[in-house]
């Protein structure tokens, strides 16, 4: 009973959020702000994706930026091949290849003449990479901090390769000077409403789709794996496959977010797969609430938004980093389940819930409660 109730509240929250971001341009139609908030919403997608693997399945992926960056590069490569020829070499060879004395377009650049291929690559390459890495990790029953170390190492390696192979990747500068993405007759200029809606629509689909998955049996098993992997294994479930599903799906969403990021930023850079960004995603997720997709997305939007505005105010120009640090420490110390737990507490107070419920895991409380009762029955 309480479970459906809490679900109703949660769904209301998600839908309300989606409505707000979709209506937003009608309140504030300004191309600069649209671009700025589209960027924050992309971070929201990225953070929600991490929440799916970390908060729901217990896989702390410190290399989330790998998927993001690869998606970003896939899109940038397709757009780079469509820039005005004068800025490029013979036969439309990208400018940085000319500088590096590359004579012909490398074979793996060729298919990026097609947008369709680029979009599939932006999704597929991160997913394939995650799947292969996940296959080895989860089959080998690697868990916890070791997953974090392996994914972080992966990130550093790929980042180094991209910076080093500047002949093919543009190196340190990344891929710049891009054309505008066009699909179905609509141009996705960085400052346009169409791009904003592409981003906002993606975030809505990710949040509601993600929420739907967490409500299925599959979703419950993922959460069970987070809570006690061995127990789930004893029940006969193939834990590794479930983990790899969450890990790979999360990578695919991050890859898609990366493609959107290229549209909004108008370049791709190795800093999109930096350790710094990857750790920021974890922070957004933790601040917002890793156990909630919406919480994680809100965390990203709030943290990057506050960061942007704080560093733009002359008063905080020298101290904004300190203030951000203080906020993180306070949230982690006093709200271990993130800011979203405040909202959930509020809802609970409103509903005059019993003390018993408050004692359970406040974030994924409802879902776990279901599982708990199952567990009790079966044992």
């Amino acid at each position: 009973m309480t479970d459906t109730n809490s679900m109703r509240w949660r769904l209301t929250g998600y839908v309300l959020f989606c409505v707000i971001i979709l209506v937003f341009p009608y309140i504030l139609n300004n191309d600069y702000l649209l671009n700025k908030y589209a960027r924050y919403l992309i971070f929201g997608v990225l953070s929600a994706a991490l929440s799916f693997s970390w908060g729901y399945t217990g896989i702390l992926n410190l290399g989330q930026a790998v998927s993001f960056g690869l998606g970003s590069y896939a899109m940038a490569m397709a757009l780079k091949l469509r820039t005005i020829p004068i800025q490029t070499g013979a036969g439309g060879l990208p400018d940085f290849m000319v500088w590096n004395n590359v004579k012909a377009l490398p074979w793996f650049w060729e298919p990026f003449h097609s947008y369709t291929f680029a979009v599939f690559a932006g999704l597929g390459i991160p997913m394939l990479l995650a799947f292969v890495l996940g296959w080895f990790m989860f089959r080998g029953r690697i868990t916890g901090v070791f997953v974090a170390i392996i994914t972080l190492a992966m990130l550093v390696v790929i980042n180094l390769v991209i910076v080093d192979q500047q002949k093919y990747t543009g190196g340190f500068n990344g891929i710049t000077d891009l054309s505008t993405f066009k699909a179905f007759g609509v141009g996705f200029d960085a400052y346009s409403l169409s791009t904003y809606y592409l981003v906002a629509g993606t975030l809505c689909v990710v949040l509601l789709g993600g929420l739907a998955i967490t409500r299925t049996k599959l979703g419950l098993i993922l959460q069970a794996i987070r809570d006690d992997e061995n127990r789930v294994r004893y029940f006969g479930y193939d834990v590794a496959s479930y983990q790899n599903f969450a890990f790979t799906l999360s990578a695919g969403v991050a890859g898609f977010a990366g493609m959107l990021y290229t549209l909004v930023m108008e370049f791709a850079s190795p800093t999109f797969l930096s350790v710094q960004l990857s750790l920021s995603i974890v922070i957004w997720c933790a601040v917002g609430g890793r156990g909630s997709l919406l919480g994680a997305a809100l965390g990203a939007i709030l943290v990057t938004g506050v960061q942007g505005n704080l560093s733009e105010s002359p008063t905080f120009l020298d101290t904004w980093m300190l203030i951000m640090g203080a906020i993180f420490i306070i949230v982690v110390l006093f709200l271990p389940n993130g800011l979203i737990s405040l909202a959930e507490k509020g809802v609970r107070l409103l509903k005059h819930k019993s003390a018993r419920e408050t004692a359970t895991h406040p974030v994924a409380g409802a879902a776990i409660a279901t599982f708990d009762s199952k567990r009790v029955r079966e044992s």
Partner: protein, 415 residues
């Protein structure tokens, strides 16, 4: 709820298409009105105050703000004060892009001054190009860029090398060993160096690129010992410069016989490594702190007075300083006209200013700057002794190594 979203998406697609047609014109008209209003000229300052390149970029921020302060104290531009809007792009290209958008679209600045790395300049380019703003870039860089929305006041390869390489060949010999950090700047400088060497009948006995931040040069030094070049031509940057110089000395090599000739080692790097390790090596740059001119004495004294007696000026902070004066002269020339970035750009062409390094001038052909390259020998006290100076200011040729490509005011032309 689902159908609502679909409708929104449909509406948005239509709106988006409508928006992308014919909207730049409207914006520019509004912008010019905004730029001229208020009796003050708003400019954006975009140098990192935090992050990996903050140390050097802070010195650029300070030099730039000092110039603005001086201009304002002397009455501003045609009675208007320059109002700087300072942002911290945190050494991150994405943040550079975000802050540049804020300065161009949010604050409606008429020009931005900023960037140290090429990566950050490339990140700022899309917004200044799309919205026809003007970016003033003070750093020496690899050239091969011809944006109609950038004024480049740092040196390009031909300016640093066309006197330097012949001088090195004449004084030390024809065998060069090229070593650089692994990114576009060293590669491009070495492309130019190789062309110059070929003309002079010299040869490259080795070419090596190390990752950024690399600090282990023993294998490189072994190769240098094996090949015995006359000159080690270095475009290594950052902390690697310190490691390279220290390991060079530890290996017992002698600067009098096999000096390092650098385009990137400034007073800042020498301060970090200690003068005894830099002593006897050479750098080519348009500016050294020790250069003896009344303008430079004034510049160095003002900088030390404002920011502390231990501060040093360098070949990037000097252009960051004088480019503000060039901007001022351009706006002054506009007089009563609308102050818009494209007008400022045109007015800046052929502007001359008596900078600390000598009289600099913006080349109307490519919006780069005529500069005064000098060859300096590093001293034990951390300063450079200036050995040679070009007789006249040297023309910037951003496509020097690429015959057939010419930078024009209308963009790059393929001859």
């Amino acid at each position: 709820m689902n159908s609502t979203r679909r409708n929104f998406l449909k509406a948005s697609a239509a709106l988006g298409a409508a928006c992308s047609v014919g909207f730049p014109d409207i914006w520019i008209k509004n912008a010019s009105l905004a730029h001229a209003a208020g009796g003050e000229v708003k400019v954006g300052i975009l140098y990192s105050l935090t992050g990996t390149t903050a140390i050097i970029e802070k010195s650029l921020n300070q030099a730039c703000l000092m110039a603005i302060e001086e201009i304002n104290a002397a009455g501003g531009i045609n009675g208007m004060q320059i109002k700087p809007v300072v942002e911290d792009p945190a050494s991150d290209p994405a943040t550079f892009a975000e802050k540049a958008r804020k300065l161009v679209l949010g604050d409606k600045c008429v020009s931005l001054f900023g960037s140290y790395t090429s990566a950050s300049r490339k990140a700022v380019l899309p917004v200044v190009e799309k919205y026809h703003n003007l970016y003033w870039y003070p750093t020496l860089y690899e050239g091969r860029e011809c944006s109609q929305n950038v004024i480049y006041t740092g040196a390009v390869p031909n300016q640093q090398q066309q006197d330097f390489v012949p001088w090195l060949v004449k004084n030390f010999g024809k065998k060069f060993y090229l070593i650089g950090s692994n990114y576009i700047y060293p590669k491009e400088e070495n492309n130019v160096c190789k062309i110059l060497l070929k003309r002079l009948g010299g040869e490259v006995v080795g070419e090596e690129y190390v990752p950024l931040g690399h600090s282990e040069f023993s294998s490189v030094i072994q190769k240098i010992k094996d090949t015995q070049p006359n000159v080690i031509f270095s475009t290594v940057v950052g902390d690697s410069v310190v490691a390279l110089h220290r390991q060079y000395k530890a290996a017992g090599l002698d600067p009098a016989k096999m000096p390092m000739a650098s385009l990137t080692t400034s007073e800042e790097e020498i301060a970090a490594m200690g003068g005894e390790f830099a002593e006897g090596h050479f750098t080519s740059a348009p500016y050294f702190m020790s250069y003896d001119s009344p303008e430079n004495q004034k510049f160095v004294a003002a900088f030390k007075k404002k920011y502390g007696p231990d501060k040093v000026t360098n070949f990037v902070s000097e252009p960051a300083y004088f480019q503000v004066y060039l901007f001022k002269q351009a706006v002054e020339k506009l007089g009563g006209k609308d102050i818009t970035p494209p007008e400022i750009r045109k007015a800046s062409w052929d502007q001359e200013f008596k900078a600390p390094q000598g009289v600099v001038k913006i080349d109307p052909k490519n919006s780069h700057t005529y500069l005064w390259p000098k060859i300096g020998e590093a001293q034990r006290n951390g300063q450079f002794k200036i050995i040679e100076q070009s007789k006249e200011s040297i023309e910037p040729k951003p496509y020097w190594a690429y015959p057939g490509q010419v930078c024009t005011p209308e963009g790059l032309k393929q001859a």
